[in-house]
């Protein structure tokens, strides 16, 4: 076991984690943050994407202990006081959500992209989401949603 201290969705947490505990296990099993989905556990599909210090990472490939001292953001952490993040709002409005299983990871990967580059081209959006698989939408409405959200964020609305 190891004692770690980290920020999760803007709250400081102190936890004792197993040496082999994955970040996804800590988030889901210990903290009940079930929006981080669980699918391949091999780093291939992207549904467990979270933000580590603002960068999108796969929580199935990171040990919880290695998040010590860092800042983790999950899908539960991006809406502010019940108001959806512009990306969430845009995914809802643009029909970018079908089964929804890829959605949390997709939105977080898109957030990491827009935080770094507020005006990506469609090609850059696709590249930014390339590690996040979706079997339902064909990605078209997802790319639409990210493009529209980037516009809204720039307009400060």
């Amino acid at each position: 076991m190891k004692n770690i201290k980290l920020k999760i969705n803007n709250k400081t947490r102190e936890l004792a984690v197993r040496d082999s505990e994955l970040l996804i296990e800590m988030l889901r099993d210990r903290l009940g943050l079930l929006g981080t989905k669980y699918s391949c556990l091999e780093g291939d599909c992207g549904v467990c994407t979270v933000l580590l210090d603002g960068k999108n990472v796969l929580s199935c490939l990171i040990l919880a202990a290695d998040a010590d001292g860092h800042e983790v953001t999950t899908i539960e952490g991006i809406a502010q006081k019940g108001v959806l993040h512009p990306l969430q709002e845009s995914f809802v409005k643009n029909g970018a959500i079908q089964c929804g299983f890829c959605t949390p990871g997709m939105i977080l990967a898109a957030k990491a992209l827009l935080d770094k580059d507020p005006s990506p081209t469609d090609g850059e959006i696709a590249s930014g989401l390339d590690g996040n698989l979706c079997r339902c939408t064909g990605y078209i409405k997802i790319i639409d949603a990210v493009r529209q959200a980037s516009q809204r964020l720039k307009d400060g609305k």
Binding site: L33, L34, G35, T36, K37, Y38, S39, C40, L41, E42, D44, C45, V47, T74, I75, E76, A79, L84, Q88, E89, F91, V92, K93, N94, G95, I97, Q98, C99, G100, F101, C102, T103, P104, I107, G123, I125, A126, S127, G128, L129, D130, N132, L133, C134, R135, C136, T137, G138, Y139, I140, K141, I142, I143
Partner: protein, 771 residues
């Protein structure tokens, strides 16, 4: 209520479940955790074909932390299957096999333990003695005399299905041009991102069980569980939560569903969760039938399609699953698109010792779409006819009865073809001279398809039911058996209910797919939900509306037949003049004198006729959907790489309940279709899947997506709810042929073997040069 969307049908309202999915609050089966919950695991056969001599579970049972171990000895050894009503011979699988295993992955035991590590260890402690039998891994070999016998089926043929009308031989003789082609199609995986999960909890005192499972068909799961567990259907509650995609892969009861229930019972009622790893998803759930199509057809010089003959051989794997439905789709969909009167095709589904094939978006329609639509293009070219003209000449019409007695009422196929040609600029692009000096060449290709709205092959009826409950404050519950797995049926049902009831979409809360509280529904498959469950919901809403209007008419001394509810007001039908508000009407219903609880109910069973499986005659669906697709590709002659540049999809959807959802289905289908056409290929070695991960089995990624122009043809189907048709499968059916035909247009070679890999393109180009 702030946002009010009245008359929501035809509007792209946000989905009812979109917000909870965007915030991570949606609950999928794996997200359910319960006190005392155990982890269950399945013991699977390591052999493709073997006799089970003995199973010793004593060591596993004695391991600390193990709560229960089950084998076939704990079961009634009852077989289950998916096409039992019409094909009792295809009921061939047991929840746990006891005598023989037939593929690598066949379930023979299951354990429940306190954690995953213990469960895994318990599996390794179960000792099974096998006598390994000779195995067979391809359908053609399996049909030969002397091949290993997998079931008690002659030549391992599990399903044999003909279609036969007219005199095909005579019509071939009367043809001006005849050609024979062989098409080969590979296996593929569904790749729903949510793996299969089953969580069972047995209630010891009541002798009842609840199963939370990732399913497209909770009532079908319940039916199979009731059969194999010998329990009443009311003692089994199957609950569908949010489901992370299905695509046909979650359409049956799986041994893990059964095991989760029985392990919980044997553990004294502790809940048991079993889930598939991604490796298990790829290797042991269901997959697409690989098929071989041998077709020989003839046409007149004027383009008249004279005769189609042929044979389809499908590798079905170890058990039958939805085999009959798949074969029916593989050989019968042709009648919906072409006016063919002389036809003879024999379909065979053959047992092998490969993993089980089953339903996957389109059943056998994807295979059929590639083979027939490539073949049709080649027939057209053979007589020097433009493939668009050829299709227009032979396409089916509205209000016609086909030779096999399909009743096509609304039919926009010809409009789809014309519009697709127009939108894609076909005339200026097709069969144009190519610049021979360039490595990359562009091409254009078309294919058409049709789709059923349900297929009555699973039970005597294909009904769905809905209940509408209007509460005292005017908010509305809709209980529907329809299973939303991401396609958006909860939203479509809410829109239909609100439209019929004349109220705002936002008033409706949907409670769906829980066998204990919602009406029956056969499930989400065969593009049936909007059409069938939609009609049931419309009927329920109409019933609720009638009850409300009766109260209003009685109180205000008006004729109820003269009243309607529109835009949240009770109005006079004739002039639309407002009588009272919907809210006031509900207050009246629940007032001192009336106290009338508004509970509307509706069901719907499509008007069909039984199929005669000796000929293929029968009207399988209540209505039919149609479409034409055009692919524009670029082929690199040096590398063999095929790049799809753009797809056009023109679709007779009847009327779109939710246009954004309909476009979403079309876009998703096409991108899935491009994956199957160009690279998806589930590969096997001696019955073992060799690429069971997303890193080895590539599916389309965000960077693989392409521009899609999706156009609707609105035919307002007379039987569809508000004119709507189902369309969840159709757009996947023509994609492969449209691309293959475009590749031909680019480089003059027809690839008849999917996927169209660079190696196959280069080989075909080389062979062409050699000629």
């Amino acid at each position: 209520m702030e946002n009010r969307t009245t008359s929501p049908v035809g509007k792209s309202v946000p989905r009812v479940d979109a917000r909870k999915k965007a915030t991570g609050e949606a609950v999928y089966a794996f997200d359910l955790n319960m006190p005392g919950m155990l982890v269950g695991k399945m013991l699977r056969s390591p052999h493709p074909h073997a006799k089970i001599l003995s199973i010793d579970t004593s060591k596993a049972q004695n391991l600390e932390g193990v709560a229960a171990v089950i084998t076939a000895e704990d079961t009634f050894k009852i077989k289950f299957g998916s096409n039992e009503f019409f094909f009792p011979n295809t009921v061939d699988q047991m929840a746990l096999e006891s005598e023989k295993v037939r593929y690598i992955g066949d379930e023979i035991a299951a354990v429940a333990a306190v954690d995953e590590e213990t469960a895994q260890k318990a599996l390794s402690l179960i000792s099974v003695k096998y006598e390994v039998l000779p195995a067979v891994f391809d359908a053609v070999s399996a049909m030969k005399p002397g091949a290993p016998q997998i079931h008690n089926a002659m030549n391992n043929i599990g399903v044999m299905m003909p279609v036969q009308f007219g005199d095909a031989d005579k019509a071939l003789k009367a043809s001006d041009y005849i050609r024979e082609d062989v098409f080969v199609l590979q296996s593929a995986a569904h790749c729903a991102l949510e793996p299969h999960v089953s969580l069972g909890r047995y209630e010891v005192s009541g002798g009842r069980v609840t199963l939370w499972t990732s399913t497209q068909a909770p009532f079908k799961v319940r039916e199979a569980l009731a059969k194999v567990l010998k329990m009443a259907e009311t003692d089994i509650r199957v609950v569908k939560l949010d489901v992370g995609g299905g695509f046909g892969g979650k359409l049956e009861m799986f041994p893990m569903d059964f095991a989760a229930c029985l392990l919980s019972k044997k553990s004294g009622g502790l809940p048991v969760k079993i889930y598939c790893t991604r490796h298990e998803e790829f290797s042991f759930t269901r997959r697409k039938h690989p098929m071989i199509y041998k077709l020989k057809s003839g046409v007149k010089r004027d383009g008249t399609l004279m005769a189609i003959t042929g044979e389809v051989i499908a590798d079905g794997g170890a058990y039958c699953s939805y085999g009959p439905t798949v074969i029916a789709a593989a050989i019968m969909r042709i009648f919906m698109v072409y006016k063919i009167t002389n036809i003879r095709i024999m379909g065979f589904r053959v047992y092998t010792n490969n993993p089980i094939c089953g339903a996957i978006r389109g059943f056998g329609g994807v295979q059929s779409g590639f083979a027939f639509e490539s073949h049709m293009d080649m027939l057209a070219r053979g007589i020097g006819m433009d493939p668009v003209e050829f299709r227009l000449k032979n396409a089916t019409d509205p209000d016609m009865t086909t030779i096999n007695k399909l009743i096509l009422s609304s039919n926009g196929l010809k409009d789809c073809i014309k519009k697709a040609a127009e939108a894609s600029g076909w005339k200026n692009k097709y069969a144009k001279a190519k610049d021979g000096s360039k490595n990359t060449v562009k091409g254009i290709g078309m294919a058409v398809a049709a789709d059923v709205m349900g297929s009555k092959m699973y039970k005597a009826h294909e009904s769905a039911g809905s209940i509408i409950k209007v509460e005292e404050d005017g908010s509305v519950y809709l209980f529907t058996g329809a299973a939303d797995t991401g396609q958006g049926s909860d939203t479509a049902m809410a829109q239909i209910a609100a439209q019929e009831l004349g109220i705002a979409y936002e008033r409706v809360r949907v409670k769906a797919a829980d066998t204990e509280i919602t009406p029956f529904d056969t499930g989400s498959f065969a593009s049936r939900v909007t059409f069938i469950s939609g009609n049931a919901t419309k009927n329920a809403a109409a019933d609720a509306k009638r009850q409300i209007l009766e109260v209003v008419a009685c109180e205000l001394k008006l004729e109820k037949d003269e009243l309607d509810i529109r835009d949240e007001q009770v109005v006079k039908k004739q002039d639309g003049s407002v009588i009272i508000s919907f809210d006031r009407a509900i207050q009246l219903c629940y007032s001192f004198n009336y106290g009338h609880l508004i509970i509307g109910r509706g069901s719907y069973n499509p008007k069909t006729t039984p199929i005669d499986f000796r000929t293929g005659e029968g009207n399988v669906s209540g209505s039919y959907g149609f479409e034409a697709q055009v692919a524009e590709v670029e082929v690199n002659k040096k590398t063999g790489q095929v790049k799809v540049l753009k797809m056009y999809d023109v679709h007779d959807i009847g009327y779109p309940i939710n246009p954004a959802s309909v476009h979403g289905q079309i876009e998703g289908s096409i991108i899935m279709g491009i994956g199957y056409t160009l690279y998806e290929d589930l590969k096997f070695s001696e019955g073992r899947v060799v690429n069971p991960s997303f890193s080895k089995y590539r599916i389309p990624r965000a960077t693989d997506t392409i521009p899609i122009e999706s156009i609707f043809i609105e035919t307002n189907d007379p039987q569809g709810p508000f004119g709507a048709k189902g369309m969840g499968e159709a757009s996947l059916l023509p994609t492969a042929a449209a691309i293959a035909n475009a590749v031909y247009d680019a480089i003059g070679v027809q690839i008849k073997d999917l996927p169209i890999t660079p190696q196959k393109v280069l080989k075909a180009l080389k062979e062409k040069e050699a000629v």
